[in-house]
């Protein structure tokens, strides 16, 4: 008797949630920070997946939105606004920047759009470094107050861990909803075949712009969470190199699935932590891994079970695996 696929899936999600919930009590508190980072990156990468994976475009500017969110949240909190306000404000400011950038740039596609977003990322780094009165310049800005909702302060790693992952879960839930809605279906249609989608009446430019706004909004709120983690931020955290890391996370995890960003972010952050001793050489290892995955798992780590399933049935000598979901 086969257990239907969807049950496997919900079981996997349940186990995953359980592991995440118990994790901070079983490991060294200092390592909890790594998993907080994983959660923050998961939010930003999910945004990128929604834009890149569904519409089939490329953005190398996610770190800029991440930075805009972080600085917005830092500055507002230091002025005295509550965390909840600066959290949403950082998302909205990033989305507003996304609108300003996306409005002209999204007329370009694929590689040309990649160039445009890269240029945006590079110029944002320069702004972060040189608008000293606002951002604190090269040395960045510190003394950001701890995140707090009402009287409760998230000033320890463990409490902050739960805050970040609850927000990540909400983001993933809405991303899942999005893929099932007409908006998500329109995005997928454009990604598959823009000409066919337009002849069905889908305004592809509008759809791409909306998904770019969602992408930058999620980048912004992830940045806000990042700012309140170490409570100090500097321009070097938001360079185009970081954008490429976001891009790699999305690709490694799997662009066509909403869980891709999550898995890519966790795996990437863990690998980065393990290879910390290698210093700059870790780029070589990560690069090699990326090449390996693109060749053997082009649809990302999320397609791993599917690939294994195929391999197993091949080994059993079964022919023609026609899957009917």
């Amino acid at each position: 008797m086969m257990i239907p696929r969807f049950q496997w899936k919900s079981l996997a999600v349940l186990v995953f949630c359980l592991i995440l919930a118990l994790l901070p009590w079983t490991i060294n508190p200092f390592r909890v920070r790594v998993f907080i980072l994983g959660g923050i990156y998961a939010i930003a990468t999910t945004g990128l997946t929604l834009f890149m994976g569904f519409t089939g475009q490329i953005s190398i500017g996610q770190a800029a939105f991440f930075g805009i969110g972080a600085y917005t949240s830092a500055i507002l909190s230091k002025v005295g606004f509550p965390f909840v306000f600066s959290f949403f404000a950082s998302g909205l400011v990033a989305a507003a920047c996304g609108l300003i950038i996306g409005f002209p740039c999204l007329r370009a596609r694929t590689f040309y759009l990649a160039m445009a977003t890269l240029a945006f990322g590079l110029s944002m780094t320069i702004i972060f470094k040189n608008w000293t009165s606002l951002t604190g310049g090269v040395s960045g800005t510190g003394g950001i107050p701890a995140a707090g909702i009402g009287p409760f302060l998230f000033d320890g790693f463990i409490s902050y861990y739960y805050l970040v992952w609850i927000i990540a879960a909400i983001v993933l839930f809405f991303a899942y909803r999005l893929t099932r809605s007409y908006l998500g279906m329109g995005l997928r249609a454009i990604g598959e075949n823009e000409v066919a989608a337009e002849s069905l009446g889908v305004k592809s430019y509008l759809f791409r712009l909306i998904s770019f706004l969602i992408c930058s909004f999620l980048g912004g709120i992830a940045g806000s969470l990042y700012a309140h983690l170490d409570r100090v931020i500097a321009p070097e955290n938001f360079t185009s190199e970081e954008s490429i890391i976001f891009l790699s996370m999305a690709v490694i995890g799997g662009l066509k699935s909403i869980y891709g960003g999550l898995i890519g972010a966790i795996v990437f952050t863990l690998i980065g932590e393990q290879l910390r001793s290698l210093d700059r050489a870790q780029v070589i290892v990560v690069g090699g891994l990326l090449v390996f995955l693109v060749i053997f798992l082009p649809r990302g780590l999320v397609s791993f079970p599917e690939k294994m399933e195929k391999l197993v049935s091949k080994l059993r000598g079964e022919t023609s695996v026609q899957k009917i979901p």
Binding site: F174, R177, L178, R180, S181, Y182, L183, M185, G186, R188, A189, E192, N193, V195, A196, A197, E198, S199, L200, G201, V202, K203, S204, K256, Q322, I324, P325
Partner: protein, 262 residues
């Protein structure tokens, strides 16, 4: 009897570089009829379709739909007006299931579905449920009901073409432009498609079809236009076209040449 043309082109011309692809093409597609456009390869048939749906812009001339000028519209505006087209090369959304493919026809129509579907409001869920039922019915119509859960990239080529027709029908078209619907199909698949076209035209849909397969065209159409070197060289009912000298010449070459050769 007065003829009612639903879609009309007036003096459409289009050239690519030095090549005149269309020369003063004027034709009218009558409501609730099947109109066919035939002609040898390179006659400009697909170009005319592209010009009508603004995939290409005409150099001169006018396109009228129900009396409205279409020349200022964008490709995505046509579905809303009820003008749907399919392409010579099949373009299903390969990584979606058949049901999802057909559901895509409802994307632009339901503004409530956008944010409403996101937050799952009651109204949006009702719309979605209604659209889903309609999509299932359409899949039944084209005979793909059993395969609704499969990915579009995993079904046969002929089935993909049928799927595309279903997807276009989901947009509630008034007129359907079919670009070589049976191209590359085997005889059985062609017959299936021809039957489908007949069935949907009987529901009360205007159909404008480009086709190479003359057997299919002669059986299906109420009216035929023949395009050669960008010009309409003949028009009329199937039996008139079959005996038209100019058409035979365009397809088979000049009689004199045959005589000389024979």
């Amino acid at each position: 009897m007065e003829e009612v043309a639903l879609l009309k082109t007036e003096n459409i011309s289009k050239s690519f570089g030095g090549v005149m692809a269309l020369k003063n093409v004027t034709l009218g597609i009558e409501k609730d009829k099947v109109t066919a456009l035939i002609g040898p390869n390179g006659a400009g048939k697909t170009t005319l379709f592209n010009v009508i749906t603004k995939m290409d812009s005409a150099d001169s001339g006018k396109i009228l739909f129900d009396g409205h000028d279409l020349s200022r519209l964008k490709p995505y505006d046509f579905a809303k007006l009820g003008i749907l087209r399919t392409y010579q090369r099949s373009m299903p959304f390969g990584e979606m299931t058949l049901l999802e493919n057909v559901l895509c026809g409802g994307i632009p129509a339901s503004a409530v579905g956008w944010l409403g579907g996101f937050f799952r409001t009651k109204k949006a869920m009702r719309v979605l449920e209604r659209d889903r039922q309609k999509a299932v019915e359409l899949l039944q119509l084209v005979g793909l009901f059993e395969k609704q859960g499969m990915l579009a990239q995993n079904i046969a080529y002929g089935e993909q073409r049928l799927l595309e027709v279903a997807r276009a029908l989901a947009c509630n078209p008034k007129i359907l432009l079919l670009d070589e619907p049976v191209a590359g199909m085997n005889p059985e698949e062609s017959l299936e498609m021809a039957k489908l076209i007949q069935r949907i035209s009987k529901i009360g849909l205007t159909i404008f079809v480009i086709e190479h397969n003359l057997d299919v065209v002669m059986n299906l159409s109420d009216m035929i236009y023949v395009l050669n070197h960008g010009e309409i060289i003949a028009q009329g009912e199937p039996n008139e076209i079959q005996s038209n000298e100019k058409v035979i010449e365009a397809y088979l070459g000049r009689k004199g040449i045959w005589r000389a050769a024979g």
